[in-house]
Structure formats: structure tokens, C-alpha cells
Symmetry: C2
Subunit: 295 residues, 2 copies
Amino acid sequence: MSGLAVGFVGLGIMGRPMAGHILKAGFPLTVFNRTRERARELEASGARLAATPAEVARAADVIVVMVTDSADVEAVVAGSGGLAQGVRRGAVIVDMSTVAPATERRLAALLRERGADYLDAPVSGGDVGAKNATLAIMAGGEAAALERARPVLERLGKTITHCGPVGSGQLAKLCNQILVGVTLLGVSEAIAFARKSGLDPHVMLRAVESGAAGSWQLSNLGPRILKDDVAPGFMVDLMLKDLRLVSETAEAAGASLPATSVVERLFDAAREQGWGREGTQVLGRVVAGLEREGA
Amino acid sequence: MSGLAVGFVGLGIMGRPMAGHILKAGFPLTVFNRTRERARELEASGARLAATPAEVARAADVIVVMVTDSADVEAVVAGSGGLAQGVRRGAVIVDMSTVAPATERRLAALLRERGADYLDAPVSGGDVGAKNATLAIMAGGEAAALERARPVLERLGKTITHCGPVGSGQLAKLCNQILVGVTLLGVSEAIAFARKSGLDPHVMLRAVESGAAGSWQLSNLGPRILKDDVAPGFMVDLMLKDLRLVSETAEAAGASLPATSVVERLFDAAREQGWGREGTQVLGRVVAGLEREGA
């Protein structure tokens, strides 16, 4: 125990188990959530419930934010009653949401004026990783600030990679999503090809997965595509949100990502089919249903 | 030792070390190669040199073919002086080249008329796998014929997967190439995105490779892309040959493979740049050089 007082804002599917780990580790914890009911269980376990993010900030040395998108983080940090209004000098705010790198840089500058540090530290590993405290944490910001926050972050993930200045964590997370999306599209195309050409896709998977064709997506989501088991996992709507951040950021950086663009288009098609809340492996269903152009 | 007499046709980069393993295992071996000089070393080690594929067939119970494309296999098996003209009843021809599934089905039918069996058994693992006898072998054809050839194939690879009837081995190999190509494109796009957006791609690779973004391509070819080390590995020209088979087969089967099509187009661009004999990881260079549409 390091004697740090901790704050937590955003008690959704990811945030609740994460805040629970922090509380279990013995840190004094103050929490805020827009929907107060979601905080009741943590309150019963000893967390203090604050009326605003600013009130969380007044009580904490390290504050974790885990919300959905850039607008949420803006509101929580810079809005009326936001963290910036209550933050102590020398405190560290750690945003673990996946949002635009440019948003993080702007908020970090605002906090710096208040004498506080800001880290962007998005995660991969999903709700299972949040529950089991096995998240992979990709952090951007000052190394010294990361060290101050580390005792808290260590309770949430199995790896913490310092990626560079503020915004770098988000950039690494977006790279992760490019890889996840494109690799899954390859898996979907291989399975569609096997089925339509008369090859047993189970046999195919077994024949190729241990070699140069192998990937986490193939071994973990390939079998689910074969069963058409589309339970999430990681939801299409959230993947689309991340892919929008990729394309905005790529456009600003002058990067052309042809396969990632195809992935975004196909997940859009999945959402139009009403599959936005299914797991990303529903991409297999989308690819299987594609008509050949000109056919 | 099973007492099988073995034949081998096609002593290229892959074929020579493979024939060497068979000879070392103690099988009597008869070989044929269009360029006789390539057979001298094997001859010195005890292989018998035949003047035609038909002469190989007259001497062998199991005959391995390892050539470049569909036209080569056609000529070796069904051409004048080809294997079919000398093949013994009950012999097994194993084509380990990567060629069109339809070609294999046609040749298998021809051999069946002669009372012999035909397997298609393409491999993954490249020239390193051929040298170290660690190839992954994907076999199509009669199970009984595969059992007769197995003592020979076991000298060449570490895994032998029976994929289904003749042609299935080729279909599995094509699925392997879809996965390899699309996954590598994802790796190339993630690295280009990292570089252009100011994230250290070495850090990115380390941050994401052990999670859901992980793949053989990322861990093995990612670091080579970062060094712009384009030594093959597996050559662009050969990958393009395989991707042509994929698109022909997909078209016949009515499968639409959008990312695979992008991969084929980008490898075409690599060849046009004069990089046909570089390793497939040169795709990273192609993607890094893409201009944004409309930019």
C-alpha cells in the first residue's frame, strides 16, 4: 500500500470491475458515475460516492477515467463540475477510455495549467480483462507521472507499456484495433473461401493455425465464426467507434489504410443488419454473405 | 524402413533438400529434373538419375512432384514422357507443388484410369521448412493412399493434415495464403499508421503483440519491416502466383474476398516496382508509400 487516495469516474462494464480491484487493494476510493445506481455496490463495499467529478478530484491523488467517447472525456475533465475544477496540484489523471489522441493532448495541456499531470492509458483485453485484472495498458505521458500512477494501474492490468508522450497510448490502441480488425477480416475471408470451395473449414483451421498463417484472432474467433456464435467479446458498435478514430487520425497524418477502410465498411454493414451489439466475429457472417461484384 | 522405392521430380530450392531427406532416410531414390546439373549432388549421394519422369515412375512406389505451377505439373504428369506413361498399378503420386485445385482433380482422374493414386499435398514453411524437414503438409486424396505415402512424407514435414478429397490440400494451402497475405497487410497498415502519426513502431509492436492483435506475421515479419530488411523468406512473385490461384478459385466458387483482392493489387504494385524477388514483407514499404486518395 502506497497511501494514495484514488478517484474513479465511469462505472460501466469496464469501469465497475476495475474500480472494484482498486478498492480490494485497500486504496481509499471516491467514485462518480452519471447513473448513481451503478455506484451502489461499490459504495456498499466502502467507496465514497461523489456528486461531481470535481468532488472526486478534490479527494484524490490518482484519478482513473473510464468512459465511452471523446465527448464524455471532455465533459468529465473540462466540463462544468469536471475534474479540472477540483484537481489538486501534483495529482495524476489517467484516462483509460479509447478516445481521439488530439483530445488527450488538449486535456493534458489544460491540466498542466492547473499543476496536475494527465496520462492517456487505453487498454486491450475487454470486459474479461477488466474482470480478471489482465488488461494490457498502453500509456502516454510523462514517465514520472506514470510512476506515480503505477501502484494503481498494476491492480488493473498484467502489462503496462509506456508508449511516449500524451496521445501515444491512444495511438498504440488504434494500431491494436487496425491489427485486430484486419486480421479478423483475413480469418473471415479464409473461412468463407473454404466453405464456398467445398473445404471443411474446421480441418483448414487445424491445418494452418500453428504456422505463418496463425493469429490470436484465428485461434480464438475462428472457432466462434464456425459455430456462428456471435456473443460478445468485443461489440461491433465499439469497434466501429474505434475505427472512426483510426480513420480520422490516419487522415490527419496522411496515412492510407486500404484494408482497414474495408474493415470499417463491413462493420458498418453489420450494424445496418442490426448486429451492432454482437461480437466482432459477426464479420464472418458479413463476409460469407458478400455477393461477387458483377455476379 | 518400409522398403518403398521413391521417385522425385523437381529439384528446385524446395525439392533438392526434400529429396536429400528421403535419400538420407535410406529409401532407394530415382530423380528427374529438367536441368540435369541440379541433380548431380543427389546422384553423388546415391540417387539414380532418370532421363524422363516416365522412367522415374517405372522405378517407384511413391513419387513426389515439386515444381512451380499448374502447367509444370500437367507436363510432368500427363505430358509426353510424363509420370502417367510409366506409373505402376498401386503407386502413389504426391504433388507437393502449389497449383490449381482443378488441375489436381483432373490429374487424379487420369491416374485412377492407370490404377494409381494421386494426392495433392502442398506445404507451408518455405525453403527453411524444406531444409529442416519442418514443413506443414496439407494433403488431399484417398486416406489409404496417404497412409502408403506417409513413411516418405514424414521425412519432409512435422505435421501432415488430411484435408479431404483430391484438391483439398490445395484449397487449404490457398486459405493459408489468404491468411498470411491479409494478416501481413494489417501489420503493414499498423506500422505505417504508427510512423505517420508519430508513434514509435517498435514500442507499438511490443505493446500489442501478446494480445488479441498478435500473429505470426506481426512477431516475425513486423521487426523486418521496421528494419526494411526485405530478404526472402517467401518471395513476392511466388505469393502473387498463389494469390492468382486464390482469385480464380474464389471466382469459380462465388466467394468475394475484398481484403485478399487488395493484397493481390498491392503485391502487383510491389512487382511493378521491381521487388518481385524480395520477401513478402516488402508489402510494408508499398503501404508506407501509398498516397491518400484525393490528397
